[in-house]
């Protein structure tokens, strides 16, 4: 009985860890969708680039002989955020801005093209094999009897959860308090009207992409350090999961993305634990279809009003 409980607890911990990173990636989808109503398919690739840059930064600092963990962690985080947000900005500028205001299908196809481009750009530069890295932060707490089966809560998992909470708090503060955040909310409500009232909407949209990309880089760094493996293809599936999370929580809603991410992470780790690992992706897609069927607005989303 205790063992089963501990097993469940372990799965819950794993699920929340993965879910936290999904939530961070989902923010990028949800903010962009909230403002310009398009799915940024290239977002998953930006997350993947973030992981690569974090690995480079960690390996580079190890070669320079830096061993103080917080510096390594912060350095990797900053480097990956810088590069990823540059990618976010450039992608918006090159592939989406010229297409704004036309048929909805066109930016979507452009986004798919961009996703393919970025994936193969990284493949070209870094090869298509897996890059593995030994974990930097080891150890953790164990829960339950030390000699028998016990659940572990590693330090890395705690860091992931805490970093996610801090990022979310900062983002919420930015959106609700800062001038730019207020502009973001205004643009999300009514882009044309905001433009008429003198808000530089292009700048707001670019900021949204940069913030989304930076948060994806945070997720990339964390998840890269947690799993210790990256290849050029991880972005696709992670992006898909994060999008599912965004829809689950209600697309356009930031707390929704967080809730959706964690719920999806838990659902996935429970399926993997109690059913079968092969079907964990099927479950998340099945979940997506079910949500869209019964509650298309998601858990915290607002119903969309069609304007003529």
């Amino acid at each position: 009985m205790l063992e089963a409980g501990l097993y469940f607890l372990q799965q819950l911990i794993n699920g929340i860890t993965i879910g936290s990173t999904y939530a961070l990636i989902a923010i990028g989808y949800t903010m962009v969708y909230g403002i310009i109503g398009m799915i940024n398919f290239a977002h998953g690739e930006i997350y993947m680039i973030g992981t690569y840059v974090a690995f480079m930064a960690i390996a580079g600092m190890a070669m320079l002989g830096i061993e103080f963990l917080p510096i390594i962690f912060l350095g990797a985080l900053l480097a990956s955020m810088l590069v990823s947000s540059s990618f976010g900005w450039a992608v918006e500028r090159i592939a989406y801005r010229p297409l704004r205001g036309g048929n909805r299908l066109i930016p979507l196809i452009s986004a798919i093209g961009m996703s393919i481009f970025l994936q193969n750009y990284v493949r070209l530069g870094q090869g298509s094999r897996d890059i593995a890295m030994s974990s930097q932060i080891t150890g953790g707490f164990s829960i339950g009897p030390t000699d028998g089966f016990h659940a572990t809560l590693s330090y890395m998992q705690i860091i992931i959860f805490v970093v996610m909470l801090v990022s979310m708090a900062l983002l919420t503060l930015f959106i609700s308090k800062s001038r730019m955040g207020r502009a973001c909310r205004a643009v999300a409500q009514d882009l044309k009207m905001a433009n008429l009232l003198g808000i530089d909407t292009n700048r707001v949209i670019a900021t949204t992409f940069v913030i989304g990309a930076a948060l994806a880089a945070v997720a990339g760094t964390l998840l890269g350090m947690y799993y210790g493996v990256v290849n050029a293809y991880v972005g696709f599936i992670a992006g898909l999961k994060a999008f599912t999370a965004a829809v689950l929580g209600g697309i356009g809603s930031i707390p929704g993305a967080m809730l959706g991410g964690i719920l999806l992470g838990i659902a996935e780790s429970m399926t993997a634990a109690y059913f079968s690992t092969e079907y964990k992706d099927v479950v998340s897609f099945g979940l997506l279809v079910l949500i869209l069927l019964f509650k298309p607005t998601g858990i915290l989303g607002k119903p969309e009003v069609e304007k003529i």
């Binding site: 390996a59 070669m63 193969n120 898909l240 992706d281």
Partner: protein
């Protein structure tokens, strides 16, 4: 000018940030640890040159635009010199007839490899035309089109393996089965906004592939299904007694028919089966073209396009949104099933690897390149894409890179595609 310099500098700096970590640094395993090494000097020089180019272009953007406007080729004179409507119709008819004759005769005079590639082109033509109905005409972005293709291919493979059914029996079944899947998937999803459809179909495509991979007992999992028979052709025999003989084109009859060369007492020719398959594919592709051409001119075809252009107006005019979308989705799916059966027959072996997301992207690229809604455009694009795929197999990364870039650039510069669709219309003759 003063404002431009900082922006140009910013863009140049950004180029370095975008290019240097990915191209200029390499992650390598050394023993147990991961090390970063710099790429060779040429890459670094390339990155700097790219940054310089970006700097100069950003600085001189307005001048470049002005120059382009000045030298922009003017097609106005050329269009006026084209022959009149009637003459053009005659020419296009002659070209069409010449093309059909060439398509029928050529395979007998080329090496074996070409009819095989041409069959693949035709399969992609069918797929492209089918997806064109969904994406180009109805405006529904379907990213899981490959799932229906897989349904068609697996239904033929499984039915022939377990029940020994022939290609001609499985073709309609595969088509219907794919249509059923389309109907079942489309029914809940089509009530939703377009972007959700894209992601749900994508998810569905992945689910089908994962299921095929994991139902090892039926589908063989990653090992796939082999020994799928090639289609046979019926031949009506009058003597010694009236009966229909199924001719097969392999060396030995495997499917309960008679080998072609034995029946006619000819020497065995191994390229014949490839050519016959090509001819069957040609016939099926022509059937597809004709069906879709009729559909476009029918009320349902008009409704697809009207719905794509303005959904709210259509609903106000009393069109049933869900029914129309569902019809487009189902018809598109059924053509994928059609092509899938043919694909299984061509390959003789299928496994889930043939039905990855990338296939959906290629078919979508065909539709986008050809011009959404345009049939001729889609056919030409299918030929270009498949030939490029076959001929440049060794430059895999560059090919995919170019694919992505072309998709983006097409959307920016020519979203209507290479050969934009023209509405079927009648022009009154001026007396």
């Amino acid at each position: 000018m003063s404002k431009k310099v900082p922006f140009a500098l910013f863009c140049a700096g950004l180029t370095v940030i975008l290019a240097f970590p990915i191209l200029g640094l390499n992650l390598e395993h050394k023993g147990t640890s991961l090390v970063v090494t710099g790429a060779d000097n040429w890459t670094l020089i390339g990155v700097l040159v790219a940054a310089l180019i970006v700097f100069v272009t950003q600085l001189l953007k307005s001048q470049i635009k002005a120059t382009y406007q000045a030298v922009k080729p003017n097609f106005g004179g050329l269009i006026q010199r084209l022959p009149g409507e009637d003459k053009r119709k005659l020419i296009s008819k002659l070209v069409l007839i010449a093309l059909i004759i060439a398509a029928l005769v050529l395979p007998f005079f080329t090496s074996r490899q070409w009819p095989d590639i041409a069959t693949l082109v035709l399969i992609y033509v069918i797929l492209g035309l089918g997806l064109n109905v969904v994406v180009g005409l109805a405006g529904l972005l379907d990213l899981g089109y490959v799932a229906f293709y897989a349904v068609g291919a697996y239904s033929y493979a499984l039915l022939s393996q377990y029940f020994g059914w022939s290609f001609w029996a499985c073709l309609p079944i595969g088509t219907l089965l794919a249509a059923t899947f389309g109907l079942l998937l489309g029914f809940p999803v089509l009530r939703l906004r377009g972007d959700y459809l894209a992601i749900v179909t994508l998810g569905f495509g992945e689910i089908i592939r994962i299921l095929l991979n994991n139902f090892t007992s039926i589908t063989g999992g990653p090992n796939g299904i082999g020994n799928i028979p090639k289609p046979s052709l019926p031949f009506i025999q009058f003597e010694p007694n009236f009966e229909i003989v199924w001719l097969e084109f392999g060396r030995r009859a495997t499917d309960g028919g008679v080998p072609f060369h034995k029946f006619f007492d000819l020497p065995y020719d191994s390229s014949l089966k490839v050519i016959v398959l090509y001819l069957i594919a040609l016939a099926l592709a022509v059937i597809t073209i004709l069906i879709i051409q009729r559909l476009i001119r029918m009320p349902v075809g008009r409704a697809w396009e009207a719905l794509r252009e303005d959904e709210i107006a259509c609903r106000s005019l009393g069109l049933n949104r869900t029914a129309i979308k569902l019809s487009a989705f189902t018809i598109g799916a059924s053509f994928a099933g059609f092509a899938g059966s043919l694909f299984a027959a061509r390959q003789g072996f299928i496994n889930p690897e043939s039905f990855i997301f990338w296939e959906s992207v290629i078919i979508l690229a065909i539709v986008v390149l050809g011009g959404m809604g345009s049939q001729i455009g889609v056919m030409i694009a299918a030929a270009i894409v498949v030939l490029l795929q076959e001929l440049t197999a060794e430059f895999d990364e560059y090919r995919l890179l170019a694919f992505g870039a072309i998709m983006v650039l097409m959307m920016i510069w020519k979203p209507q595609g290479l050969l934009p669709m023209k509405r079927p219309h009648i022009k009154l003759k001026q007396e």
